[in-house]
Amino acid sequence: MKPYFLLVTLFAFTSCGKVAPWERANLARKAMAPDRNPLGEAMADHMYFSREGSLGGKGVGGGGCGCN
């Protein structure tokens, strides 16, 4: 049981990988940006603010391209 458990744990760790800065082309695409539609985002914010009284709290720093 124990070796099997260890093997499964090790396999699980193989999925943890570092994306190198030069491999982030797909992450830098516009489709990956959380704010790719500023007008739509503003409309959604307005709707949440009007109906739920909630606003903000979803800011993230870019799409992870590693630029600067």
């Binding site: 800065p21 030069w22 491999e23 082309a25 630029c67 600067n68």
Partner: protein, 161 residues
């Protein structure tokens, strides 16, 4: 439980130590040995600024004209600027260069073997290599005039040595 902890720590150590990185003071690897394409001029006895860039990186686009100005200013004193394109697709690099058309030489690392060896922390990253072939300065990112001022000061120091 102890075994899981050991596995976890081993995996973390492996992740942290994977890949070699060129640091300040270390010898800069010869790009020619990593199968790069493009014409690399002779760098013997010269100060070389290697600029790692990618076509999808916006700051790289801003850095090119600035490095081009530095190249033109210090070329006569022994500075070479070498752009290192890290795009996998040659078509992407070609489009980027067509828009910017730099006067400094550019090499292409489509296999990404060279960039993996050097290991920059972000895009763009500039490596200033002294006349002795050792890395004199590393600058990650591009922040306009602030970056240019910092790199120019380092170039002046390297040219005097």
């Amino acid at each position: 439980m102890k075994n899981i902890a050991i596995c976890f720590l081993t995996a973390l150590v492996l992740l942290a130590t994977s890949g070699a990185e060129v640091s300040r003071g270390a010898s800069f690897p010869n790009p020619k040995t990593f199968g790069v394409t493009g014409i690399l001029p002779s760098t013997k006895g010269k100060v070389v600024l290697y600029d790692f860039w990618a076509s999808w990186c916006q700051p790289c686009r801003q850095a090119f004209p600035a490095y081009d100005r530095l190249y033109k200013k210090y070329k006569g004193q022994g500075l070479i600027v070498v752009g290192v394109g890290t795009d996998k697709k040659p078509k992407d690099s070609a489009g980027f260069l067509k828009r910017l058309s730099p006067s400094f030489p550019v090499i292409f690392d489509h296999s990404q073997r060279f960039v993996a060896k050097v290991g920059p922390k972000g895009m763009p990253t500039a490596y200033l290599v002294g006349k002795n072939g050792k890395v004199a300065f590393i600058h990650s990112g591009f922040r306009g005039a602030k970056t240019v001022k910092t790199i120019e000061a380092q170039i002046q120091v390297a040219l005097k040595k």
